[in-house]
Amino acid sequence: MGEDKITSGAGAALCIMTLMTNAYSVMPGAEAGAGVWISHIAAGALALILALLFAVLCDAFPEKSFFGVLEVALGKFAGRLIAFFLAVASLLTCVVSLTVFSRFVQITALPQTPQIIIPGLVIVIAALSLRCGLRAASGSARLLVWFSVAVFLIYVIFGIGRAGLSLTAPDMTRVEPLLSGGGEVFLNRFGALPALMAIYVRMPKKGRRAPFFAAIGGVAAALCIIALITVATLGAETARTDFYPIYTAMSVRGVGGFIQHTEIFACIAMTLCLFFKSAVCLAFSDDMLSGVFSAERRLGAAMPLALICAASTQLIYRDISGLRGMVEWKSGAWFAVALYVAAAILPWLGERVRRAKTGKAQ
């Protein structure tokens, strides 16, 4: 990892592209109804808090990898357990994103194409890009993030005319759907948060927090605005029942009379974001598993991890309602969120205890 350094700007761009995956297709948390944007605010706030805990931990040991930090903070056994959990969680979130996107492409454009082709291609190319670490992906992200920004602006600016903001008034008498919706949003939109530490540790030590948090905060705000505009365009009921409501709302956009079918831009943006998310999740999981099994990482094991993800996209669901059940996983969402919170808090607490013991010994 000594040679695999990326600039702060490229790291921030890579974070943005990773978190914006599937931003223009499914809308988790739609059970919250018109208040889904509140669920997005809750999920974004939780993401920022957990990112802060991870960042503080990494900054306490600037010369160590994220796995090394976990080992120092929690000890060998607990550190490896948490690292293994985070590696599996990153791969799972990558698989779900690949599956949602491939199903989306199959329904909208390529009904006769075997579903494994698209996720297989995307993730294998992502694995090949990791041969020179994250530098290739981060350099590309720095350029392509502006395309994603343009698609976002098209969605918001050219959708305002069709939006009825009165439709977004939440029902504050029922708080539970807002909170459970927040859990779904966190898992679907910020499930790759721990994987972003693969980016953070490769950024320059000085001044990396500001761009890192600006990227996460910016994406959280953008996702909230996308949810708000979607409900304002389609209404809460349609947004809840449609599996791809954001894409549906995008397809009624146009830019004046000279750019039509702006949903195609959304498809391109999602493909690009999926590539970056795959690269980041593979790099992070490879880092973690190499540490867990004490394998010195020279060339990495990104390719078998990529193929595991590609094959898993065929196995994790039975039909479209099953896939939807995974995305809108109400019953288990809070348990999974609690695991993420524990994975962030425990190392931070472990480091505090270690520091207190070291201070007492002196």
């Binding site: 579903q115 294998v124 394998a295 020279r298 060339l299 595991i308 196995l315």
Partner: protein, 64 residues
């Protein structure tokens, strides 16, 4: 027919494998075994009319 996916995976892993040694090599082999096992399962899932893959469609693309 369902061996198409495992064959493609095996080829990709074979060409990517070179240059690794020690524990990294063993980790790579272990993950490759998992990937190949999952690819066989994915092939079975496709043959049992799983909505995900369509291997007969994939074969017809190669045969065109």
């Amino acid at each position: 027919m369902f061996f198409v996916l495992p064959a493609v995976f095996a080829a990709a892993l074979f060409f990517d494998f070179r240059g690794r040694y020690g524990r990294e090599k063993r980790l790579y082999i272990a993950l490759s075994v998992i990937a190949l096992a999952l690819s066989v399962l994915a092939g079975f899932a496709a043959q049992s009319d799983h909505v995900g893959a369509s291997f007969s469609g994939m074969i017809s693309i190669f045969m065109r």
